[in-house]
């Protein structure tokens, strides 16, 4: 669905940087651009969105040519219908949270969608605030919600969860995963978080020094990079305590003891010495 083969000359930390990126994504792909800081991830998204001039090459989406340097075709950003979460958010300072989302709403669409999104990103009572008085993470969530208002077929997400705490990050990752599948979106995510990538992406594109060095599943990529993304570990319950209306389990994994709180009503699912499976979500914050 997305075929991209572009070249661009940029400044790099070790002199000039020749960005030369090839991407081939299918409809429904959830791809992740993975690479060191300054390697050209944001620039790639910006060129795909038509915000940065491309030196040379071609961008084709759904058999439509968006950009071609020899044929001198260059679609305006307005005509490339995609959702984009900017790394620096780029919220409109003159509009409240609600208005920022309202501005993105296509004609005729119901405002219910806005309320739902505001609820989802947990900004209910802040919807009347201007971005300037929001916290960093709150601004990031507005940026995400705004990009989703149009329900675009292609989503570009530039480190959309970097300023969020574990709880809301998990929740929004789950939501993103769900709408990605539900609406069969094609999504490109930039992230430095291996766990996040493993959870969300079916394709990881590794960029080194401006070139794509590897395109594979996250499992494969991270294994080769020597990065373990999601351990499936077994532990043993060695203590069960009641604290208020919570149940605190102490679990031993090898020499480590960790504690986990669960709702009291799940009490009868756990017992001492029981073996229990713990996945990465559990360990990593």
């Amino acid at each position: 669905m997305i075929h991209l083969d572009i070249q661009k000359r940029l400044h790099g930390a070790k002199g000039g940087l020749n960005l030369a990126i090839q991407l081939n994504l299918q409809k429904g792909d959830f791809a992740c651009l993975y690479g060191a800081s300054g390697v050209g991830k944001t620039s790639t998204l910006r060129m795909l969105a038509g915000l940065m001039p491309v030196d040379q090459g071609e961008i084709k989406v759904n058999h439509q040519i968006w950009f071609n340097s020899t044929k001198k075709i260059n679609l305006r950003p307005q005509d490339r219908s995609l959702g984009y979460v900017f790394q620096d958010y780029a919220l409109f300072p003159n509009m409240t949270v609600w208005e920022n989302l309202r501005f993105a709403l296509p004609k005729g669409a119901s405002e219910q969608r806005i309320s739902d999104l505001i609820e989802m990103v947990e900004l209910g009572d802040l919807q009347g605030q201007k971005p300037a008085t929001l916290s960093g993470g709150q601004q990031q969530r507005v940026a995400l919600a705004r990009a989703l208002v149009q329900q675009p077929p292609i989503l570009l997400l530039d480190e959309p969860f970097s300023a969020l705490d574990h709880g809301i990050r998990q929740k929004l990752q789950d939501y993103l995963k769900q709408i990605h599948q539900q609406f069969e979106l094609t999504t490109i995510l930039v992230s430095h978080n291996v766990h996040e990538i493993t959870k969300l992406a079916n394709k990881v594109i590794v960029i080194v020094d401006g070139k794509v060095t590897q395109t594979a599943s996250s499992q494969q990529v991270f294994t080769e990079l020597g990065v373990q993304q999601s351990l499936q570990l077994k532990g043993e319950i060695i203590k069960i305590e009641e604290k208020g209306n919570e149940l605190v389990l102490s679990i031993q994994i090898q020499d480590n003891v960790i504690q986990k709180s669960i709702p009291l009503k799940l009490k009868n699912q756990y017992q001492l010495d029981q073996e229990i499976e713990l996945n990465g979500d559990f360990f990593m914050h």
């Binding site: 969105a49 038509g50 915000l51 305006r76 950003p77 307005q78 005509d79 490339r80 219908s81 995609l82 959702g83 984009y84 900017f86 620096d88 780029a90 919220l91 409109f92 300072p93 003159n94 509009m95 501005f103 993105a104 296509p106 705004r146 149009q150």
Partner: protein, 223 residues
């Protein structure tokens, strides 16, 4: 005391300012985003009406607009417009003369905006015009206000061009600045003083209101 000149003055200033906003916005927008080699030339030309003494500029307008010269004749024959000694002529002359006061602050304001705002709006599928209207203009309110206040105040005090092209016709082109000038020339200082004072007070009140609302002082007061 004859109030017509005062009424005429505020009519002229208001109409001129409104037209200026409409003309200056697209011009300033072009100046900000163009990479053309003509750009610095246009930028310079916009400021040039300021450089000539108003009466001289007025004289050139007079010649240009006069039905006996090519341009004025064309206006007269094809559009039925006689710009000399008419209110319409005053408006056009004032617009040209005050153009830099509106264009330049707006241009500076737009140039100071972060490009990511435009980009974000474009990605959301918004046209340049909607982006300008809903995103860029609301974020350069201070600069726009500067342009409006400068143009408005300048049109009120403007005098040389207006005198030349308007012909000082009572109830038509005799604005307050000319009335005051007449009184000073006639050594009627007390009459000039009262005119000036009234002009000053009314304008002061208008601008004070504008600034107070803009600065949120009115809101603060009611809170």
């Amino acid at each position: 005391m004859d109030w017509t000149p005062l009424v005429l003055t505020f009519q002229l200033a208001t109409i001129t300012t409104i037209i200026l906003v409409l003309v200056a916005l697209p011009l300033a927008y072009w100046l900000v985003h163009s990479r053309s080699y003509f750009k610095p030339i246009v930028e310079t030309l916009v400021s040039m009406p300021l450089v000539l003494p108003p009466t001289v500029l007025g004289f050139y307008f007079l010649i240009a607009f006069s039905p006996n010269h090519a341009f004025g004749q064309w206006l007269d024959e094809y559009l039925g417009l006689r710009l000399v000694f008419s209110f319409t002529g005053l408006v056009i002359a004032s617009v040209i003369y005050s153009l830099p006061f509106m264009v330049q602050p707006i241009q500076a304001g737009l140039a100071g905006l972060s490009p990511s705002l435009r980009e974000a709006a474009f990605v959301l599928g918004k046209s340049k015009w909607i982006t300008l209207w809903k995103v860029e203009i609301p974020n350069i309110k201070a600069a726009l206000l500067t342009g409006i206040v400068l143009s408005f105040a300048h049109t009120i005090g403007e005098f040389g061009v207006v005198l030349m092209i308007g012909g000082n016709i009572p109830a038509q082109t005799k604005v307050a600045s000319i009335a005051i000038y007449d009184e000073v020339e006639a050594l009627n200082y007390s009459a000039a003083n009262s005119y000036s004072l009234i002009l000053f007070v009314i304008t002061f009140c208008i601008l004070l209101m504008v600034y107070a609302i803009n600065g949120g002082y009115v809101k603060r007061f009611w809170k």
